[in-house]
């Protein structure tokens, strides 16, 4: 058997396959390869034929005793064609509602990380608020926690009663989406390292709690205005921070609490579980941003803002408890594993 002649014969098809791969690089179309018989369906059929032929050549490379250089070339060629044949799955927007309204609440309800993160966040928040309000327990706590300058800035900002125009509302909600969701995403990403996530969560809880406590002191002028401002969006935003951290912690815990899986596999499985929680958190951040942009600074009567606050708290509770209550039919385990591998099919 003459390898040189065999290669000479097969080379024609291989270079045709390479040209097809070139033309499919961007959008997966075979039209740009320059051959007439590569238009549309014909091109796809031709591509799969050539790909299978190259696969067969690679499989028989050992039998043919092809030179190693040629085998390497064939590996590259098949890998390249493989990447063009099996292309990335696009997003499936129709599955997003399932993720938001079914997978995420059930995951949140069942996940101990959510409870831990919520406890840490609201526990530290309450503690800092208490310490910030009573300066006698730890004198100078608020000043050292947040900084005297920031506190006086905060005080000044809320001295005037709330008023604003539509223009101001729109641009501010855009800013809040960018800024607050960014903090949430950062908290989530650091979750895989556990400690930065916990630090970030605790810092946010302490700083916010101290500000709340400071503004609640009876001798602060703008206190009423401040609480009028934060009432409306508070439930959404504080929950969203805790949820983002919980999603991050879920990934980080996968490193230690593997449940019998190999460690890397455990991280992967837990990360897939964390995605719906993070999506829910991002949704809450967005809702909070619009509330903060439009309702909070508006000169609406305080009752409206309080009602909105109660309503949003009820909405969150409904979401977590009613939608999240474990279903009898699809238990969480099968749900979450099915959610892990939507691309396996």
């Amino acid at each position: 058997m003459n390898v040189a002649k065999l290669l000479e014969k097969r080379r024609v098809q291989w270079s045709e396959l390479e040209r097809l791969c070139d033309s499919m690089e961007v959008r997966g179309r075979t039209d740009k390869s320059g051959f007439k018989h590569h238009q549309g369906v014909q091109g796809i059929a031709r591509f799969s034929t050539l790909y299978r032929a190259a696969c067969a050549d690679l499989a028989l490379a050992d039998t043919y005793q092809l030179p190693p250089g040629t085998v390497t070339y064939l590996h590259r060629l098949v890998a390249r064609a493989h990447n063009q044949l099996y292309r990335a799955n696009k997003f499936e927007p129709q599955s997003w509602s399932t993720i938001i309204f079914e997978t995420a609440p059930q995951q949140i309800f069942a996940d101990p990380c959510v409870r831990v993160a919520t406890l840490i966040f609201f526990g530290l928040f309450a503690l800092a608020m208490y310490l910030g309000r009573n300066d006698t327990i730890i004198p100078g706590f608020a000043d050292r926690m947040v900084g005297t300058e920031q506190l006086s800035q905060l005080e000044e900002a809320y001295e005037a009663p709330l008023a604003g125009s539509l223009n101001h509302y729109v641009s501010m909600s855009g800013f809040y989406i960018m800024h607050n969701t960014g903090i949430g995403l950062r908290c989530f990403a650091y979750g895989i390292l556990l400690i930065p996530c916990l630090l970030s969560l605790a810092y946010n809880a302490l700083a916010l709690g101290t500000m709340f406590g400071y503004m609640a002191r009876p001798d602060i002028v703008g206190g009423d205005n401040f609480f009028e401002f934060v009432t409306a969006h508070g439930p959404f935003e504080l929950t969203a921070i805790a949820l983002a951290a919980a999603a991050g912690l879920r990934i980080g815990l996968g490193l230690f609490y593997t449940g019998g899986l190999p460690r890397t596999e455990s991280i992967r499985v837990n990360a897939m579980k964390a995605v719906p929680v993070m999506a829910a958190s991002a949704l809450l951040f967005t809702l909070a941003a619009f509330t903060e942009g439009f309702i909070s600074p508006s000169p609406l009567p305080y009752v409206v803002k309080a009602v909105w606050s109660v309503f949003s708290s009820g909405l969150i509770s409904f979401y977590f408890v009613v939608l999240g209550f474990p279903r009898e039919t699809g238990d969480l385990v099968s749900q979450s594993t099915a959610g892990d591998q939507p691309d396996a099919a």
Partner: protein, 374 residues
């Protein structure tokens, strides 16, 4: 050879066609430039968007839409800085602009394409891989509080995982592979007429082992990067057992012998008639024929022995004057249109040994150079 898996940075993948092929993994030195390009592109896009929005804001400021433009600017900045990689990797089959420029691609660890969810996860977690940040103000008190990512976490994780994954890759179950185009197909061609002649002296029933065939192919691909002396040194290890086994003359050039065996295994057709050997006809490299008259050439002439080891009485048959025309490589790629990776080191200057002599055997090889006829 004790470990079953190769130490190479390749990962075998089994396709639905039931074919196993290797992917070459991309290391930090390919991925860092890709990341930097992406960073540049991202900031470029953001700057362009800001300029466009500022112009648009100037034009619509009368109608009170300026705040919407500002809000759109904030949201676009947020989306571009957090979801640039996610969207590009999902819609361009695992590639961002930087990855495309560096010839790398993200795929699933099973070799399947990346999905939107995985792309999102690995891109969101990048910030953890870039940790810990270096705070400039800790060096100079008056510096801006700028955080420079050091990327140590991602680098360490890449070093310690088999697939060179960073944390985001581990969480998303993805890996980054090299996906370059334009791999050349290297096949050697033999122009030296002594090679087929020598190849015909291997017994017809001799079959090389699989590892021997592989070795021969690697040797033939690499040998024109080596000097003749180095070639002989390397070839000797395998040539000496062959010389013993087939009873060749002891002064045969090991390089030529290996090359002939390569020709025999890969290039010759058993049904082919042996080509016209010209002056080499009747010459036998076998040990038992060493004392017989050697055809036209007489028994002093030995075209197959290495140049440096020849006894002083031998003529310089095998050492022709290097000519300008003989600079053509003796191994050429089958694909004539494909460029050579680099010029031959030393062809024509240092390579005055036997293998360059194949261009005009009739005119060159049997005419001794006068200055060597001492």
């Amino acid at each position: 050879m004790a470990s079953p898996a190769a130490l190479d940075t390749t990962i075998a993948v089994v396709t639905p066609e039931n074919i196993a092929f290797d992917y070459q993994l991309a290391g930090p030195f390919r991925r860092l430039p890709a990341y930097l390009i992406d960073l540049g592109v991202r900031w470029g896009v953001i700057i362009v968007v800001v300029i466009c929005l500022a112009l648009a804001g100037l034009m619509v400021s009368f109608s009170g839409l300026g705040s919407f433009v500002l809000a759109a600017g904030f949201i676009l900045y947020f989306l571009i800085s957090w979801f640039y990689g996610t969207v590009l990797e999902t819609y361009f089959n695992g590639r961002t602009i930087g990855k495309w420029a560096c010839g790398i691609r993200v795929i699933d660890t099973d070799g399947r394409p990346i999905s939107g969810k995985r792309a999102m996860l690995r891109n969101l977690l990048r910030i953890a891989d870039l940790a810990p940040p270096l705070v400039l103000s800790s060096f100079a008190t008056d510096a801006m509080p700028v955080f420079l990512p050091t990327g140590m976490i991602g680098l360490l994780t890449m070093l310690f995982t088999r697939r060179m994954q960073r944390l985001g890759d581990l969480a998303a179950g993805t890996m980054v592979i090299v996906d370059e185009r334009g791999w050349r197909l290297p096949v050697a061609k033999v122009d030296d007429p002594r090679v087929p002649a020598l190849a015909s002296f291997f017994p017809g029933d001799y079959r090389v082992s699989r590892s021997m065939a592989k070795t021969l192919a690697i040797y033939a691909e690499r040998r024109h990067y080596l000097t003749p002396a180095r070639r002989r040194e390397i070839a000797r290890h395998l040539a000496i057992p062959l010389i013993d086994r087939f009873e060749f003359r002891a002064d045969i050039d090991p390089d030529l012998l290996m090359y002939a065996l390569y020709y025999r295994v890969y290039l010759s057709d058993p049904s082919d008639e042996i080509a016209d050997l010209g002056p080499l006809a009747g010459f036998s490299p076998l040990r038992r024929d060493q004392n017989k008259p050697q055809g036209l050439m007489g028994d002093a002439a030995n075209p197959i022995s290495p140049a440096v080891n020849r006894p002083a009485t031998a003529t310089a048959i095998a050492e022709p004057t290097p000519r300008a025309g003989s600079n053509a490589p003796d191994i050429s790629l089958l694909g004539k249109s494909l460029p050579r990776p680099q010029p031959h080191p030393g062809v024509g200057q240092t390579d005055v040994g036997q293998t360059e002599s194949g261009q005009q055997p009739g005119s060159q090889q049997d005419v001794p150079r006068p200055e060597e006829q001492r």
